[in-house]
Amino acid sequence: MASIRLEHVTVAFPIYDAASRSLKKRLVSAAVGGEIQLEPGSTRLSVVQALDDVSLAFDHGDRVGLVGHNGAGKTTLLRVIAGIYEPVRGQVRVEGQTAPLFDITFGMDPESTGYENILLRGLFLGLERKAIRERAEEIAEFTELGRFLDLPLRTYSAGMRMRLAFAVSTSIEPDILLVDEGIGAGDAAFLAKANRRLQEFTGKAAIIVLASHSEQLICSMCDKAVLMQQGRVLATGDAEEVLRMYRELKAADLG
């Protein structure tokens, strides 16, 4: 049985002085909305509190939507569940195999052919060579790219790349699926096909955690939701209820 348990999880990003590290750019993008604090006893080192004392529990069958402003900690939370970030404080226990779908075009090489990219991306996702070979035909068929799969990826249009990335990413069968924003894919005809596959794909997952700004997407996919602000959990519960609170929060910010 798949389950996710987070207890008092805190994640803080160190921001190094520009003189000692030239990384301002990324930290700013990761930090918008998070709380910026000074490291105790330090005058130069500040930290961004990306997650602050977050406790959550999801179980088999949960479809969870994460909502909140930019930088509320949604992506960081997904990365903590995926095991990419280990928290500074707190406990994370995840049962089941996770599959992150953050940037589905990641790990694709423009100089390699479509088939080579299927292999490459499959290896990234932790599949065995044999398993990838077995799935390659099915993936190829789904993309409808035909002989283009023998050509380098750089000859593809953006939509074609998306088809390929989407097909490979959804060919695995994870217990826990972590999605950051919706997965858009190609033209209208393909979209319908993609939606069917996505439903099949997500239907198999025991737990889905989906971070999105689209209320429609969350309504259609999730039964639970978590509202986040500045790295803290404001509310968890029924999706409808939490979305209502999110709307109120947005309205309050505007007014």
Binding site: S20, G41, Y85
Partner: protein, 283 residues
């Protein structure tokens, strides 16, 4: 490099004290073990790195071989003259040394980019971080394989017959690979945090090249100095160069390499235990 402010030092120090425990140590060991098991991935990535660099060129990866050949021929002819050495003896020595040195030096400079170079991967998918170190070592092994061809040509040309001693090159290579792993992990880790390290390392590597007996021979010095015996790179090079040239490395060489391996891995595991989980935050 600008000195780190004291406060950051003390943070790093307190981290070191706080996070070196049995749990983190086991995690670090498991990371290195599990990373090895992902060989289909890093094997593919390493090969890919090489193919990528030479894609659509006519000779492909054999450009590595060609450029090494040009290099040792030019250096050999020049320094053979300067040192007034018999090419019969000097060119095989230079070639073997240069090929091995190239492996160690490239590995070290590539190692500094082990984690920062794969930043996208690290932040996208949870995987043992040691994968990136394996990838560096593996792609450098492939390059070594191409460079060794030049040594073969030179050895045949000058009729160097190492005999059975040549077999010792195999354990020597294993030791070099073992050292390559900690070098990549260690320099990859510290470079992820301190971005000046890659720059420092690449300039130091050049200096070390000249003070290590690669183009010159230890026998050329009037007396044995610390420059040779206390130079870890001398032992690393000699332990494999000896067998290639047909004489067994001395026990000092084996001992030197063993000491480097143990000390290197100890320090690396200590750092890896303490800071492994921070790498995702640093890259």
């Amino acid at each position: 490099m600008e000195p780190e402010p004291h406060t950051q030092d003390s943070w790093l120090w307190s981290q070191l004290q706080a996070s070196v425990d049995a749990v983190q140590f086991r995690k670090a060991l498991r990371d290195v073990g599990d990373g090895g098991k992902r060989w289909p991935l890093w094997g593919h990535m390493g090969l890919h790195d090489i193919r990528q660099r030479y894609r659509r060129s006519m000779l492909g990866p054999f450009w590595i071989t060609v450029s090494m050949g040009v290099m040792v021929t030019a250096l050999g002819l020049l320094y053979g003259r300067i040192f007034k050495l018999d090419l019969q003896d000097y060119l095989p020595y230079l070639t073997a040394g240069f090929v091995i040195w190239g492996f160690i030096a490239n590995l070290t400079t590539d190692g500094t980019r082990a984690f920062t170079g794969d930043e996208g991967f690290i932040r996208q998918i949870a995987a043992p971080l040691s994968i990136h170190a394996y990838r560096v070592v593996w792609s450098n092994l492939i390059i070594l394989g191409h460079n060794v061809l030049i040594y073969l040509v030179v050895a045949v040309w000058f009729q160097v017959n190492p005999g059975w001693v040549l077999l010792l090159a195999l354990p020597a290579l294993c030791l070099l690979v073992l050292n390559g792993m900690w070098i990549s992990l260690f320099f990859g880790l510290v470079s992820a945090r301190f971005r000046d390290i890659p720059l420092i390392v690449s300039s130091l590597v050049q200096v070390v090249f000249f003070i290590t007996p690669v183009i010159w021979k230890p026998a050329m010095l009037p007396e044995r100095t610390l420059l040779v015996d206390a130079n870890p790179f001398y032992h690393l090079v000699e332990v494999m160069r000896g067998p290639l040239l047909g004489h067994a490395p001395s026990w000092e060489n084996w001992l030197g390499v063993a000491v480097i391996t143990v000390i290197g891995w100890s320090i690396t595991l200590l750092f890896y235990t303490a800071y492994r989980w921070r790498i995702a935050y640093w890259v």
